[in-house]
Symmetry: C2
Subunit: 334 residues, 2 copies
């Protein structure tokens, strides 16, 4: 697998960049098995400085703390906590027995309890970043989003020069296309250098259940940075991805085309054309109207207007600290 360090540039592989994937270290670090023995944090003490982010829905908490204060000024650490999902088998066993309960309310057929689960059902995944730099603290903090309206002209005058100045490395994409990495993960390939692509599971999907099915099609052809580069010339490629990608997912996973959301991101996380396939019932990050563009609609737009994506205004959200947002503001002010 491509190492984060090898990617370079600001925009990174989707799997590491999504907001809920801010737990980058956690993902990288969770590859090993869980057989290790008792351990300690790589620091002593923890004095809370700031809640960087929290989600009552996701049951996650991102904390910035001062540690090692007994020996001088102390250092910074980030601790990310996430409750673990339920394991159905263990829960069923628990309910069949006599779990420890406290009644909170009872009304007609409904009753509500506080349940104290046994330790094996109450695990927490803890990720530590230590020592944490200012960049880590910024990265894990919640960032305000701002909507940008990018006309075709804005793309040429603001966005494209910005992207070109980034010299973003997408070597990890080429490694996949050249079978130098992740070859064993490939689900389907159309090897045509112009209109072909490789389909493989997204790293966010553990492939254990179909509920959150997530695959990515990466085109073989180089130089198509994003939606903005697409013209009618690319229709054969796009139709291949749509039709063959759906067919491969049906064959492999038994999930039919009408149960998939097939879309591109704009802005994408990396500037080599790729298409997302997610289970329709899975509200994956980046499926919102301000970022996702249904492939079927992209194809239709190009059929009707070959230069649709060079001409039309596209709208998307940028984090407050995104340098591209600063470029737009500078252009508006000038």
């Amino acid at each position: 697998m491509a190492e984060p360090a090898a990617q370079g540039g600001k925009r990174k592989r989707e799997e590491e960049e999504e907001e809920e994937e801010a737990v980058e270290g956690a993902e990288a670090a969770s590859v090993g098995n869980g057989t290790a023995g008792p351990a300690r944090f790589p620091f002593t003490g923890f004095r809370l400085q700031k809640v960087l982010r929290e989600s009552a829905r996701d049951k996650t908490l991102f904390l910035h703390g001062k540690v090692n204060e007994s020996s001088g000024d102390g250092q910074d650490a980030v601790v990310i906590l996430e409750k673990t999902p339920f394991q159905v088998d263990e829960v069923a066993q628990l309910l069949a027995g006599n779990p420890e309960l406290r009644l909170r309310l009872s009304n007609d057929v409904y009753s509500n309890y506080q349940l104290a689960p046994p330790p094996q059902l109450s695990g927490v995944k803890a990720t530590v970043v230590f020592p944490a730099t200012a960049k880590h603290l910024q990265k894990y903090g919640r960032q305000e989003l701002h909507m940008v309206e990018e006309s075709g002209e804005d793309y040429t005058n603001i966005t494209l020069p910005y992207l070109e100045a980034q010299s973003l490395s997408i070597q990890w994409v080429y490694n996949i296309l050249d079978k130098k990495a992740e070859a064993e993960r490939i689900i389907y390939e159309n090897p045509d250098p112009s209109d072909g692509f490789i389909l493989l599971p997204d790293l966010k999907w553990d492939q254990k259940q179909l509920e959150d099915l997530y695959l990515i099609a990466i085109c073989h052809r180089r130089g198509i940075k994003s939606l903005r580069d697409l013209t009618a010339e690319h229709l054969p490629l796009l139709r291949n991805i749509q039709r063959e990608g759906q067919e491969a997912i049906l064959q492999r996973y038994g999930v039919g085309p009408d149960r998939l959301r097939v879309y591109l991101h704009y802005q994408p996380s990396y500037y080599h054309l790729h298409v997302h396939f997610t289970a329709l019932g899975h509200e994956a990050p980046g499926t919102g109207v301000e970022r996702a563009h249904l492939l079927a609609e992209v194809i239709e737009n190009l059929q009707l207007a070959p230069r649709h994506y060079q001409c039309r205004t596209l709208r998307y959200a940028l984090r407050a600290d995104d340098p591209l947002l600063a470029c737009f503001r500078a252009a508006a002010g000038s």
Copy 2:
């Protein structure tokens, strides 16, 4: 406020229809305080029949089980489990001490642990529905979603006849427009009968914080069922909603236009034209690309092609039990 019962028809007011509201019974039952003593479930035994729904992201589990089987055939029960969100103070205390850890992996500045929290940090909210009816089981079950491709012709031949046969009551909308209900909740009004609208907070938003800001603009003009009815004739109305709605939200809440997602739903929940305003950082239900249409893009589409929404294919997801899906399937089979 309009009573659900007064709405009639299948499609309902947004606030009652969203999937995440399925824990309705749970919410109703959790009003009480938590001072009660040890308790037991209102049944004995629990033999798992089916996982009705589960979410690894939300840490929730909806189970259907057979209970009371020792005395006859047994009865049905639904148990809904949800891990509780973290309490910051308790977590900070825990981290300052020596929590029980197992190292899973360590890589550079990142390390990952399995943490065993003390009981007060590992609570689970359990909601029981007992006895559970077939309706409960259906209600709590995850409904598969299916993508529908609706051409302009399909709309005329399938969707429109279906909608007309429903005789959906939208009296509650008229009550708002006529100030017979919710008049005190109105944030802004343009009273023009053709190009005016009323802006008010959505019922999903408790108005206590701006993170999940959610308002709805309802147009005064009657008879515009949805996106499908829009033509260039409606541009003044749409521009008013866009500009005046954003301005009113800036005045009232201090949230600028670039921090809002302004969009229509297709299919909508009720067939009287309305526009959603949500905080850009809030991933509200219905913001996905398969349902939301940015108002700015709708306006642009109508400027370029006055009959865009009568001609183009629109794609959206329907639940497996939606009668409209059956209509599409019947049409495809005929």
